[in-house]
């Protein structure tokens, strides 16, 4: 056995050399922190090193579950990602159907190039643009919304807790719907032309073709992406929430990841922060497994 392994290694040594850097990186920087998760179950002690503190079991988890920040952070995280998913998921599909229905090649090209563009804007700049356009006194967009009586004159879209989630979700759609539509556009372009012809012979107009040819063609992609997104139901992108936070909206904008950053990194409660983070990871993972299982049963589509 050992000899077999040595001879296999000798044969493949060049391959091992080529994969070594990536493997080492993954082991140190991805599996290292996983090993460090035990920090969540130990009382961190600077003098005893990273994992040398006393074992305290679930103390920090209980501390989180019973703290006044537990419900707000859990709720805020869930609300933000739930609405991001519900509103953000159909947008790229719709966009792909629209792009696919365009007849003029040139317009199609221009639309595609344009809608991808916002994806390349950094989060910092994105949040800054929001602040400028939605500024209560002189923001162009907030002025427009007020003139259209969609929001009341006195609303500060950046500070009102009720406005945080809509602003977050809608700007997220603005930024990434185009990029996320690429995969659906690609799936649509690979639909066999004969299917359209067959549908036409059966008397299907364009609308029926969308419903009975294009949507079914997108379905596997939709399900796979839905599963992957469910696995992130409790992970809100840290950067954008962090940058959009201010004292006025903190009641809805403190999510688990920003809370972990504040307690775990900024205030140095390393064990407590690890525990909160681990709770988040586990919930995500369980969600992923459940949805994966359901879709495997229901549609025979799954990730693993």
């Amino acid at each position: 056995m050992a000899r077999k392994m040595i001879s296999a290694f000798r044969k493949d040594w060049q391959l091992w050399v080529m994969i070594a850097p990536a493997l080492i990186y993954i082991i140190i920087f991805c599996y290292g922190p996983m090993y460090g998760i035990q920090l969540a179950f130990r009382k961190y002690d600077f003098s005893k090193g990273l994992t040398g503190g006393d074992w305290v079991g679930f103390k920090y988890f209980i501390q989180y579950f019973t703290s006044p920040m537990f419900w707000p952070t859990l709720r805020n995280t869930f609300v933000i990602s739930f609405f991001s998913l519900i509103c953000g998921f159909p947008a790229p599909i719709l966009l792909a159907l629209i792009v696919n229905a365009l007849k003029q090649k040139k317009l199609k090209r221009v639309v595609q190039t344009a809608v991808y563009m916002p994806y390349f804007i950094s989060t910092v700049v994105m949040v800054a643009i929001l602040q400028i356009l939605l500024s209560p006194s002189k923001g162009v967009l907030s002025g427009l919304l007020k003139n259209m009586h969609l929001v009341s004159q006195s609303t500060n879209l950046l500070g009102t807790p009720g406005a945080f989630v809509p602003v977050y979700v809608l700007s997220g759609i603005w930024q990434s719907a185009g990029w996320n539509s690429i995969i659906f556009i690609a799936a649509l372009s690979s639909v066999d032309g004969q299917l359209y012809d067959a549908a036409k012979i059966d008397g299907a107009d364009r609308w029926h073709q969308v419903m009975h040819v294009e949507i079914p063609a997108l379905l596997p992609t939709i399900v796979i992406l839905l599963i992957m997104n469910m696995g992130r139901i409790l992970s809100v992108g840290f950067e954008k929430v962090f940058l959009m936070q201010n004292n006025l909206n903190l009641s809805v904008s403190e999510v688990i990841s920003t809370y972990v950053f504040n307690v775990g990194v900024t205030s140095g409660q390393f064990s407590f922060g690890s525990a909160v983070g681990l709770f988040n990871t586990v919930v995500n993972f369980v969600f992923l497994l459940i949805v994966n299982k359901i879709s495997k049963k229901a549609a025979d589509i799954s990730l693993m």
């Binding site: 290292g32 922190p33 460090g36 317009l107 910092v124």
Partner: protein, 298 residues
Amino acid sequence: MMRSRKMRMGLSDRIFYICPTAAAVAALIMVLYPMYFIVIASFSNSTMVNQGMVTLIPRGINFYGYRKILERSDLWLGYRNTLFYTVVGTMLNLAVTLPAAYVLAQKKFKARRVVMTIFVITMYFGGGMVPTYMLVKSLHLTNSILTMIIMGAVSVYNVIIARTFFESSIPTELQEAAELDGCSHFRYFTSIVLPLSKAVISVITLYYAVGHWNDFFTALLYLNKDEYQPLQTILRNILISNQAMAGTTGAGEGSCAQQFADQIKFAVIIVSTVPVLCIYPFIQKYFEKGVMIGAVKG
């Protein structure tokens, strides 16, 4: 009877062609207008901008904002740092990712499944922010240029994209022929595989480079020193923490300073974002392909 039915279908189809065009134009306006507005506002009179008078054409043209940011040494330092992190970091990314993807595309490689599993698990499960932070700290990598380059050296997602490309787009006959000629893996990889993989290389180069350029989190977590700060940190200071007029504001000129601050912000947004936006249309046709293979096989 037949005719009327045909006409009805024709009408509904015609509506169906007009609707997407209208929707596409609406989407185009919604995406482009905010960016267009920022461009014209960056060289318009800020009072007019604030009064809502600048909507379609720039007014009161002046380049105060741009002139002012030329004087901001912190911005240019950030620019220089980010340029460095992006160039060196992306080179490291490629040097690590491409060989790994090549190896994982080798059907004969015995450990292929095991290594792949080790990689893929990290896409769904991780140690979390604090353990990662503690690890980096215990490796003495905080406050170091190295961190900005090493963190995120491998994205498993990009490895999968490249691996799928190697598997599907490079004929296996080539490798068989190369093996018969006694060509080593190193040689085959560098002189056959890489030249044939320009498409996938440009895609993942773009992904990694944009990731470095827009990276704010790594510096927030691991960097304290001012002289190492990347562009995004400086942008945050100027744009979000409102330090646009730092150092030049006197107590008395409050509102006047605030007015110019906005113009500076617009200019800063343009200057920091344009490099990225200029590059991607050239690689667009490749990344459509890249997203497809990555997502389907991932």
